[in-house]
Amino acid sequence: MLQYVLRRLLVAVPMLLGAMSIVFFAMRILPGDPCVSMMGDQATREALADCTRNLGLQRPLAVQYADYLWRSARLDFGNSLRQGYPVSEYIARMFPHTLILVLSSAVVAALVGIPIGIVSALKRRSPLIDYPLRIIALLGLSMPVFWLGILLLIVFSLRLDLFPLIGGGDLEGALHMLRTGEAFVNPGDFLAAVGDVLHHLTLPALALGFTLAATISRLSRSAMLEVISQDYIRTARAKGQLERAVIYKHAFRNMMVPLLTIVGLFVAVALTGTVLTETVFTRPGLGKMLVDAIGARDYPLAQGAITVFTMTIIFVNLVVDMLYAVVDPRITYR
């Protein structure tokens, strides 16, 4: 097992390097330049030349690339071209916001999607249950997150005034208290900060979660359908097992393997979903930051963000592969 993990981590290095190189060159192949984008229509000839020189963008591409790799190896992603903050510091501030959004929407998506999928698979011959559930799933699939998001904001934030309109809550405060141990000294303050974070998180998590739940429900429906047509299910039923036991004990556990694969894929989907969710709910976060960085041709910031995205996806997939062995004892890694 350990050997397998090490091997996978080793393979991750060229993957990461590949992704970073693609981003580096793709950003520079994109027409447009950071100076022009920063100065817009006020860009004069001299100002543009100055700006390009100051940012070191006049150097040969190979030199810039080597410099970028060498710095990245030391975890130095440079400074944001636009705002001047160190990229690593910027990402460190944004990443927790995105992480909790992805995790909480995963919880929502799983809690909503998996039961719907299972029920709709089991009652597939009942038009009163399966059809409405599948329509709900279809709605979720075709409802863009920004539309659902605005809807939630209008109902729950503007009309009912239950949730805030913008922001990510006092996540930095909560994390700071956790790091310094203050959370245990002043649990009241800590809980207030956590409550504030959840208060800000609820609507975005629901919006992103519901749109993703649709995919999950459809995938778990087909996974369940496949499992219950297996021989061992028929055998279980034949030996007189209760239907509940058949489903929960035999079918559900065997459904876990394809479901885990979905979860692995889900992280990538959810990360891209954060872009729109963070924009609609005006939350700080990596997704929106990345899109803005690309629009502004803020090379270091975009490169840093994509590196972190890639690392996250590699890591999650590794964990998913590990979990296969846990849910299915037949799978072992050597």
Binding site: L30, P31, G32, D33, P34, V36, S37, M38, M39, G40, D41, Q42, T44, R45, E46, A47, L48, A49, D50, C51, N54, R82, Q83, G84, Y85, Y90, R93, M94, V107, L111, P115, I150, L153, I154, L158, D161, L162, F163, P164, L165, I166, G167, G168, A192, G195, L198, H199, L201, T202, A205, L242, R244, A245, Y248, T279, V280, T282, P284, K288, M289
Partner: protein
């Protein structure tokens, strides 16, 4: 069986508990408690500035927030309860004199003006430093070009500064307005903080910088020692809200008092009106116009340029983009509010004439422009598709390539578009404006790397521009620029469409503004000239 029941029960309980936790805790936490001490907080929804060093950003939101933090030697004059961009009055400078030869300005500074955060009194040293860092092109500064007229700056005493120019400069006092290059920063602070000054700004404005949470907000506080008196607003929260839809919801909900929208559409204006809010309109704003590259066939033939102008229905475009009072139909290639502006006449909308002219010029069936690049942002794609449709009617087919804004800027400087749609605001005088767009030195050329903005490739007014720069009689200057506009009328290289004011939405129940919402102030700051005069009402 019992274990099965347990696991089912457990599964359900976890589901319900988790949902309750998420929704319940969120609701229970409730909105943050109201400020106990009744602080007067002004909340603004805008985009996040890229820096708070006023000399280093050209973005609208950065310039708008700069005006809260910084001031200059002069300011736009308040006359009869209105603010004008054509005249200036003293601000950090109390008075000034000009030498008889027109090259030496001596400014007497106001005494006792304090910088934020204990950086001491503003003196002549700070003035010298603020301009010299830009003239010397300190990395990141953007406006040095506007101060190139300066030969040297001398500190006579702490309250007197002498600025020697290379030659007479008719718009020098406009350059000294607290705006872009004109802002005075603390020398001590910049030298001490270096690169960090970007996010630790120190000026003499009515508000000082408190903190910045990236992608969330910038917080400013009232400056007790502001020389104009402490503002009545205690705190300004400048939120990073990129979406106009979110801004509107926030205005209605009361989360925001002021909105700095990306674009004011008819729909936006309607919604603002419906919720009982106000739109503050400020001239001169931006002008949207076409430049036609007179060197690029077939537009090198003036008949084709005339046909182009006959084909474009300016009024229809303006009314579609900005119905009613959302903008004004542009009347000149030098917008109103700029010194030297005179109304011009343009070929009227007449597709029949356009077709005839095209036939005369040897294009009886029109022609096709392939790979025409247009930005996907702001007004660009909308205006261009309207124009595309109008041009199609006379046989000019434009095949659009919609690209990122940055790519668009790059491509128009490579002369890839035979006519260029453009917008923008400058120092409010015909001299810098016309120099930027019609001086032959500004013709973009990828071969030499010239990224200027004379997209018309015009060479017909260099003599007037040179003469105007040396003229000290304001009346004669006005005459020179009137002549320049006549030449543009003759040569048909510029077709202005709409003069779009700078517009913010305001909740009048929360905030009162000092000037008439309908062009009561002219401003170049993408926002209010005098934010210290805003009042939070409850």
């Amino acid at each position: 069986m019992p274990s099965l029941l347990r696991s089912r029960f457990a599964f359900r309980s976890i589901t319900v508990l988790a949902l309750l936790l998420l929704v319940g805790l969120g609701v229970l936490a409730g909105p943050p408690a109201a400020f106990a001490d009744k602080k007067k907080v002004l909340t603004i929804a805008a985009k996040e500035p890229d820096t708070l060093d006023p000399h280093t950003s050209t973005l609208g939101q950065s310039q708008a927030i700069s005006r809260f933090l910084y001031r200059g030697l002069t300011r736009f004059a308040i006359k009869d309860g209105r603010v004008t961009t054509a005249e200036v009055e003293p601000d950090l400078a109390e008075s000034w004199t000009l030498s008889p030869d027109g090259t030496v300005w001596t400014f007497k500074l106001r005494k006792g003006v304090q910088f934020h955060k204990g950086f001491g009194e503003m003196t002549a040293e700070d003035v010298k430093f603020s301009f010299e860092r830009q003239i010397n092109r300190t990395p990141g500064t953007r406006y040095g070009v506007n101060l190139e007229v300066i030969k040297s700056i001398e500190v006579v005493d702490p309250y007197t500064v002498q600025i020697v120019l290379k030659g007479f400069d008719a718009i020098f006092l406009l350059r000294m307005v607290g705006y872009q290059q004109g802002y005075i920063v603390s020398k001590k602070a910049v030298e001490k903080l270096g690169e960090q000054f970007k996010w630790n700004p120190v000026g003499t404005g009515p508000f000082y910088f408190e903190r910045h949470t990236p992608r969330e907000r910038v917080v400013l506080r009232a400056f007790d020692r502001f020389y104009g008196g402490r503002p009545s607003i205690d705190e300004v929260h400048w939120f990073d809200v990129p979406e106009d839809a979110t801004k509107l919801i926030g205005l209605e909900k009361g989360t925001f008092d002021l909105l700095y929208p990306e674009a004011v559409t008819a729909d936006f204006a309607d919604q603002v009106k419906k919720m009982g809010a106000i739109i503050d309109r400020r001239g001169p704003g931006g002008q949207e116009r076409f430049y036609i590259d007179m060197t690029k066939p077939p537009f090198d033939d003036i008949r084709v340029r005339r046909a182009f102008m006959h084909a474009i229905d300016r009024k229809a475009i303006k009314e579609t983009m900005y119905p009613g009072d959302l903008a004004r139909l542009a009347s000149s290639c030098v917008p109103p509010g700029y010194f030297g502006h005179v109304p011009m006449t343009f070929p009227e909308y007449n597709p029949e004439k356009a077709r005839k002219l095209l036939a005369e010029a040897g294009h009886p069936n029109g022609f096709t422009i392939k790979n025409y690049f247009i930005s996907k942002s702001f007004f660009y794609p909308k205006v261009l598709t309207l124009a595309q449709e109008q041009l199609r009617k006379v046989g000019i087919i434009v095949e659009l390539q919609v690209v990122e804004h940055a790519t668009f800027h790059e491509n128009i400087r490579k002369n890839l578009d035979p006519f260029v749609l453009y917008g923008g605001t400058r120092i409010t005088d015909a001299d810098p404006w016309l120099s930027l767009f019609f001086d032959s030195k500004e013709i973009p050329d990828p071969a030499t790397g010239n990224k200027g903005s004379n997209f018309a490739h015009y060479r017909g007014m260099d003599d007037l521009l040179a003469a105007g720069r040396n003229e000290r009689d304001q009346k004669k200057r006005a005459g020179i620029y009137a002549e320049a506009q006549k030449r543009l009328e003759r040569d048909l290289v510029c077709l202005p469409i709409s003069d779009v004011p700078n517009q913010w939405a305001r909740n009048p129940k929360r905030v009162s503004a000092p000037f008439d919402p309908d062009y009561g102030e002219f401003s170049l700051h993408y926002g209010y000239n005098y934010p210290e005069m805003l009042k939070v009402l409850n």
